[in-house]
Symmetry: C2
Subunit: 221 residues, 2 copies
DNA sequence: AAGTCCCTTACAGATTTCTGTAAGGGATTG
DNA sequence: CAATCCCTTACAGAAATCTGTAAGGGACTT
């Protein structure tokens, strides 16, 4: 079994519960837990330097903001940094996120090794995932049904930038002006119009209000 | 200290973490934990019948749906049922919800005794909350700032009817026509305009898109 | 090099949104 | 009863939204 595991999870209750269960169900030599991404990353770096690197990282995706300044703001940033630092590291994500698209992109972009949804069976699955990953297999929570991944078009950064401003009540003209000021391209009213019209098609929305409402309800923005 | 505590929380990891911490930090005689609202409620009923009722209920608000059929679908339904069954029961809510409006309504409508936000300090706060509630005081996570509670006006049925149609992408003219067909009064475009304008003021929204987005995010529609 | 595809941009016209003014009516109050 | 308040409605003008056409340019293919 893994000799050295790092757990990053900002909810104190969850954090302790996971650590407790893993220690109980698996024979572990070393399991550290951290409440902040930055601290977790520092631990990875130090361990690597001291030639006793971590073998497995278990991390959440969302880390709540508080008064502590931070460079790494989310689990995916931590994962990205960790992958760059130590490509051999095994990574299991343990999160509430249950959108197959997002989960899929974690496997594709960051080569994570396992994904477990938080929930009633979360702990049982996590133990299973650790075992699977230890044997160089991947694990995905069955509820995700990742194979039958849905074909909904993803929003890109530009889409999201526009939608964010519209959600805040700016007009398209104002969005265009703001983008010009902030040197975001493209930025013509016309292009912004076209982008939104395309989203109407993709999400079967009738107007901006309808589009933003739908996306908000789906948690996409 | 409380002699008999019931914990309802559907995330296995969190559930175990909380139970562990409470047993460690407080001198408890009896602490049971349940993953389902219905089971938790049954426990309350049985205990009351056997004349050794629970003294404190700690519950989450959101309980994920799974294959198991259920009557009580959320923490607030559990709280309502529990209050009706056993008015003397102390209740602490432990949830991610951080909207002061919703939290406030729990105190007003269900007379809960404490509210703790999940998060990095969640466990420390929860222990503190249990102690406070034991001494017949209430506890609210400081981050909520509930005293400066917002005075936001509630939506009435007519507001909601308009907003629902706008969210579905209808224009104001179409909403007016629909209301006329369905004999909903008032129904002139003008009145609908006025209602929405009033909501702009009340919710500090700049336009319909902004208003709907805000309300969707606050979970009001 | 020519053809094709797609993105960016400009522009224009019809429709919708938003705001303000104003009139009428019901309910309440002094 | 008159004064007042608030809701409903009509109307009108400025601004914004939405849709379509069209031109230019970069990337990619044949």
């Amino acid at each position: 079994m893994f000799k050295k595991i790092l757990l990053a999870e900002d909810f104190q209750g969850e954090n302790q519960g996971i650590a407790e269960t893993l220690r109980e169900k698996l024979i572990l030599e070393e399991l550290q837990n951290e409440l902040y991404c930055d601290k977790a990353f520092t631990r990875l770096k130090v361990a690597l330097k001291n030639t006793v690197p971590y073998e497995l990282l278990i991390t959440d995706l969302f880390f709540e903001k508080d008064h502590v300044d931070r460079k790494l703001k989310s689990g995916s940033e931590l994962i990205k940094a960790a992958r760059a630092l130590q490509p051999s590291l095994k990574i299991i994500v343990h999160s509430m996120e249950n959108n197959p698209i997002h989960v899929n992109s974690l496997f594709k972009e960051h080569k994570i090794n396992g994904y477990v949804c938080k929930g009633r069976k979360g702990m049982l699955e996590l133990v299973k995932a650790v075992k699977e990953v230890y044997h160089n297999r991947t694990y995905v929570s069955p509820q995700l049904n990742l194979t039958a991944a849905n074909n909904v078009v993803e929003l890109d950064d530009f889409d999201r930038a526009i939608l964010r401003e519209l959600a805040n009540g700016l007009t398209k003209k104002e969005v265009s002006e703001k983008f010009k000021q902030e040197k975001i391209t493209p930025n013509s009213e016309s292009t912004i119009d076209k982008r939104i019209s395309r989203l109407y098609d993709e999400y079967e929305a009738k107007n901006t209000t309808n589009l933003l409402f739908k996306l908000a309800k789906e948690g996409k923005i």
